[in-house]
């Protein structure tokens, strides 16, 4: 099965209408490409990525079975 779990936070959860979902991958897709596919312009915001709770870069290949976090600009404090 070529799917991973996408986890959304803040405004991205509102845009996707859920906090977590299973997403079928396209061949050779990176995290950045996956994000661009799932959040079309003009609603896209800058994000950082994490895979299984570890920071990752956008050029990381999206791997089946992982949990990918899409982290919009933070506002804590």
């Amino acid at each position: 099965m070529h799917a991973l779990t996408a986890t959304w936070f803040a405004q991205l959860a509102t845009i996707r209408g859920c906090r977590s979902e299973s997403v079928t991958l396209e061949s050779g897709e990176t995290l950045a490409a996956l994000y661009a596919r799932l959040i079309p312009e003009p609603r896209r915001v800058p994000v950082r990525f994490a895979v299984d709770d570890v920071w990752a870069t956008g050029d990381t290949p999206a791997r089946p079975g992982t949990v990918v976090l899409f982290l919009p600009p933070v506002g804590g404090g």
Binding site: F9, A10, Q11, W55, L71, V74, G75, G76, G77
Partner: protein
């Protein structure tokens, strides 16, 4: 070391107690509280959500940095859920041998938290709710 995240109010005494020791002669407590206005609009409350596991890992990394650079013990509590105006959303206690390092460690901890820790804030005003990101570049490198 006490690093926590959750809906419980910030307890300053608990944070201070977590870092105090006879070897540390300086303790600083930072509280980040919610303001009643944002760009002229009345703020009713704030709602915080977090990527829990990553927040805990980032808190641990920040505490480790403060220990290595400043010899500081650090305790942090950040709230999640709804925080009313005037309440503390975050509390950070640091303790060091001498005061200069305590000021530096406290500043480092809050600036790192605001720049990097995956916590989000939704501001509820009389006009509705919107997610607010921290302004970049206000803190130290």
């Amino acid at each position: 070391m006490s690093l926590s995240l959750g809906p419980e109010p910030v307890d300053p005494s608990a944070l201070i107690a977590a870092v105090a020791s006879p070897q540390r002669g300086a303790i600083l407590l930072f509280l980040g509280t919610t303001r009643d206005r944002f760009e002229g609009q009345a703020v009713l409350s704030l709602h915080y959500e977090a990527a829990d596991a990553m927040v805990r890992a980032e808190f641990a990394a920040i505490a480790a940095e403060c220990a290595e650079r400043f010899g500081a013990a650090v305790a942090v509590h950040h709230r999640t859920g709804t925080v009313g105006v005037g309440e503390a959303s975050v509390g950070i206690a640091v303790a060091t041998a001498h005061r200069a390092d305590a000021y530096a460690a406290s500043r480092h901890a809050i600036e790192r938290l605001k720049a990097d820790v995956p916590i989000w804030k939704e501001e509820h005003t009389t006009d509705g709710a919107s997610w607010k990101a921290n302004a970049p570049g206000r803190g130290e490198p």
